[in-house]
Each structure stands twice: as structure tokens, then as C-alpha cells.
């Protein structure tokens, strides 16, 4: 078993873990964490493609590596946008959940501050 196969399995496992958490959790911030786990798992699988593409003087193929770097930065930008949206959502509604059942029940502290 070479190191890249282990890293590939780690990537697959991370995607699985992240997917489970994404489905099970109703809290948006936890969904975001799960989403980032999936993302890094995908990057890792792509990373082993870079490792396997070693040709000539390089121990790696630089093209997928460069794409993973831009991917990490874009994932951060998407996370920041998601955080801004969920904070605003929580501010508007006074609640932090995406569970549809919660919204059909009456609010515990009565929605007097709704504008």
C-alpha cells in the first residue's frame, strides 16, 4: 500500500463523514462544517491524482495542485458568504436551525420583536 492510496481512502472517508453530518444536522453552521469536510475530502482525492501524475523532474503534477490551492481559497470565500447569510437569517428570525419542523411550531419566546 503506497502513501497515496492511504490518502485516497482518507479522502473517500472524509466525503462519507461529511455527507452524513450534512444530512443529519439541522444547524446551519454544522452543515457548513460538514460541507467543508466533504470539500477537503474531494481535494485530497484530487491531490492523489496530482501525486500519481509524477513525470520527469517532478514528484507531482503541478496542475491539479494549483487547482486545489484555488479550490481551498474559493471554499473559504463560499464559507464566508454562507456565514454571512446564516447570521443574517438568525438575526431576522431569532432561530438557528434549518429543520422545517421547528418552523411550524410556535416560537418559545413569542415573536414580539418581528418587524
Amino acid at each position: 500500500m503506497s502513501p497515496w492510496i492511504i490518502a485516497g481512502f482518507v479522502g473517500a472517508g472524509l466525503v462519507g463523514l461529511g455527507l452524513y453530518a450534512l444530512v443529519v444536522n439541522a444547524q446551519p453552521l454544522r452543515k457548513l462544517l460538514a460541507f467543508n469536510l466533504i470539500g477537503s475530502g474531494v481535494f485530497l482525492v484530487f491531490g492523489i491524482v496530482a501525486r500519481r501524475g509524477a513525470v520527469g523532474p517532478f514528484p507531482f503534477d503541478p496542475v491539479p495542485q494549483a487547482m486545489v490551492i484555488t479550490g481551498i481559497v474559493v471554499a473559504f470565500a463560499a464559507s464566508a458568504l454562507a456565514v454571512a447569510l446564516m447570521l443574517r437569517f438568525a438575526e431576522e428570525t431569532g432561530r438557528v436551525t434549518l429543520d422545517p419542523d421547528v418552523w411550524t411550531k410556535p416560537k418559545p419566546d413569542d415573536g414580539a420583536e418581528d418587524q
Binding site: 492511504i6 490518502a7 485516497g8 481512502f9 479522502g11 473517500a12 472517508g13 472524509l14 462519507g16 463523514l17 461529511g18 455527507l19 452524513y20 444530512v23 443529519v24 444547524q27 454544522r30 457548513l32 462544517l33 467543508n36 469536510l37 477537503s40 481535494f43 482525492v45 491531490g47 491524482v49 496530482a50 501525486r51 500519481r52 501524475g53 520527469g56 517532478f58 514528484p59 507531482f60 503534477d61 503541478p62 496542475v63 495542485q65 494549483a66 487547482m67 486545489v68 490551492i69 481551498i72 481559497v73 474559493v74 473559504f76 464559507s79 464566508a80 458568504l81 456565514v83 446564516m86 447570521l87 443574517r88 438568525a90 431569532g94 432561530r95 438557528v96 429543520d99 418559545p108 419566546d109
Partner: protein
């Protein structure tokens, strides 16, 4: 070494699982930061030091700050989560195992010999005079992608700002730190910021030939800006500041202008004139570092939430 890799794999997956299972949101976020750092070691093992630096600085560090700030703000609200039902849990577990299994099978059946763009990138490397192949791919071989990615960052900032209520438009984002920060934090910010700025600039500069580059260096500069804001030595800037907006778009704008000048100077879009490529690349990267160092703290600070006295 195989033992090290296996141990690392177990550790990464274990910390990831713990992050998901942690009851407190804050613990989950701290777990995620540790997870990011461990993942950086995996990247080093894959001969990807540039990716490892980016993962540690942005994937773990800056994202960690973003999530800590968000969990702090969200924790003030009542938690209304109903625990997920057993059926949902089982279905989700089955789906996850299926997807992970398919991915693992795909990993095992990757084509042999592996396809590679390394020879093409190597040719480009010789033309640019750079020593770091990944930087050459980012700025020369796939420069159009990198330019568009910078535009995505600007769009993300616009998206975050547009979430603000109308009455705060043009104001300042909420402060990153408590009203009276710990003296130790203030001390750290005072001592670390100058050192960090030197390291960030150095990381960008050596990125031409060694692991490092505009993203990694910019992320360290951004971290220094954030620690200074957390210690309340300075406040997040007003978002209607002209200088701020100029710094925000400087990277993609300079990149685009040089790219558009390509047909005149070198015969095609986003091409560099022979013999002049390296200084031009460093020129573009300099502005990119500035834009990244400004963009990341703005994304963490969030939309303007107060009018902000002039």
C-alpha cells in the same frame, strides 16, 4: 513510513469524526482547526508543500477564525434543534457508506499510467524563469483560471456586504474582538504583527522558486490584520472607503490588464513577452498579495453592522 501514514490517516479521520460528534459547536470548530493542520501534514506526504501551506493558513487558520466568530455570534440565540430521527440517521449512514465506498473503489481503479500535464507545465516553467512549478501553473499556464478566481473573491465580498441591512450600508463591520481584550492578546498582536508581515512578504517572494506564493503570503498578512483587529488596536474599515475598494480589486484588475495587453506584447491573451515574464509575474503577484490580504479579513469581519463615525 507506512506506519506513520496509517497513523496519520486514522488521526485525520478520527478528528473529523470527533468534529461531527462534538456536542458543543465551539468544540467542533476547535476540532476542525486541528483537523486542518493534520490534513496539511497529509499534503506534505503527497509532495504538495504549496497546498499544505494553503490548507494550514486558509483552510484551517482563516476558516477557523471565521467559524469561531460565527459560533460565538450564533451561540447567543436559543438552540431549537430537534435531534434527527433514527430512520434519517440510518438512511444518511447508508448513503454516506455508499458514496465513500464508490470513491474508494474509484481511487483503486485510477487509470495506469496516470494522465499528467506535468510535461506541459514544465515547458511553461522554462519559459517563465520561475523555479516553483505550482506558481508557474497558477500565474502562467492556467493564469486565466487564477484571474477568475480572484474575481470570485471580490464577488464573495460583494455578496457578504449585500447581506447588510440598508441602514448600515457604507458603515463598519462588527468588531472582531471583545470590548476590552486581554492584555496578553494585545501584547501578542503588537509583537507578532511586524514579524508576521515580514514572513508573509517573504513567503510571497520566495514563492517564485520555492514553496509559497501569493495565496500563502497573502493569507499570513490577512491573519496579522485579523489579530490586530481582535486586539482592538484597529477596527474593521468602513466599507465605503475608496482606498479599501481599490486594494480589493487591485489584484484581479492588474492581472486582467496585463492579460489583455498580452496580444500586443506576446501575441495572445494572458501570454507574457519572452524574457520579461518573471518580473511581470512578480508585479501581478504583488497586487494579488495586497488584494488577498485585504479580502480575507473583510470576509471574516462580515457585513457592515454599524454606521461607524467618520
Amino acid at each position: 513510513m507506512i506506519l506513520f501514514d496509517l497513523g496519520l490517516a486514522v488521526l485525520v479521520l478520527g478528528v473529523a469524526a470527533w468534529t461531527i460528534a462534538a456536542r458543543e459547536m465551539f468544540s467542533a470548530v476547535v476540532g476542525y482547526v486541528a483537523y486542518g493542520l493534520l490534513l496539511a501534514i497529509v499534503w506534505v506526504r503527497l509532495y504538495a508543500p504549496d497546498v499544505a501551506l494553503t490548507e494550514a493558513a486558509i483552510g484551517s487558520g482563516v476558516t477557523g477564525v471565521l467559524l469561531v466568530v460565527a459560533s460565538k455570534r450564533l451561540s447567543l440565540l436559543p438552540q431549537a434543534d430537534a435531534p434527527p430521527g433514527r430512520g434519517l440517521k440510518r438512511a444518511a449512514a447508508a448513503l454516506s457508506v455508499l458514496v465513500a465506498g464508490v470513491l474508494a473503489a474509484a481511487v483503486l481503479t485510477l487509470p495506469d499510467p496516470a494522465p499528467s500535464l506535468a510535461p506541459e507545465a514544465d515547458r511553461e516553467l522554462a519559459a517563465t524563469g520561475l523555479g516553483n512549478a505550482v506558481t508557474a501553473v497558477l500565474i502562467a499556464y492556467r493564469s486565466f483560471d487564477t484571474m477568475l478566481e480572484k474575481v470570485v473573491l471580490v464577488l464573495a465580498v460583494v455578496g457578504v456586504w449585500s447581506v447588510a441591512p440598508d441602514r448600515f450600508w457604507g458603515g463598519r463591520p462588527a468588531p472582531l474582538g471583545p470590548p476590552r481584550p486581554d492584555a496578553a492578546l494585545v501584547f501578542l498582536a503588537r509583537v507578532l504583527a511586524p514579524i508576521g508581515i515580514v514572513i508573509g512578504v517573504q513567503m510571497f517572494w520566495v514563492g517564485a522558486d520555492e514553496p509559497g506564493g501569493a495565496f500563502q503570503g497573502g493569507a499570513i498578512l490577512a491573519a496579522m490584520a485579523m489579530i490586530v483587529m481582535m486586539a482592538r488596536l484597529t477596527e474593521p474599515p468602513r466599507i465605503d472607503s475608496g482606498r479599501l475598494r481599490l486594494a480589493l480589486i487591485a489584484g484581479p484588475a492588474v492581472f486582467l490588464v496585463v492579460g489583455l495587453a498580452g496580444p500586443l506584447m506576446a501575441g495572445s491573451f494572458f501570454a507574457y513577452p519572452a524574457g520579461f515574464a518573471k518580473p511581470l509575474i512578480l508585479f501581478i503577484e504583488g497586487f494579488m498579495v495586497l488584494s488577498i490580504a485585504v479580502t480575507l479579513p473583510l470576509l471574516v469581519a462580515g457585513p457592515p453592522s454599524r454606521k461607524g463615525e467618520e
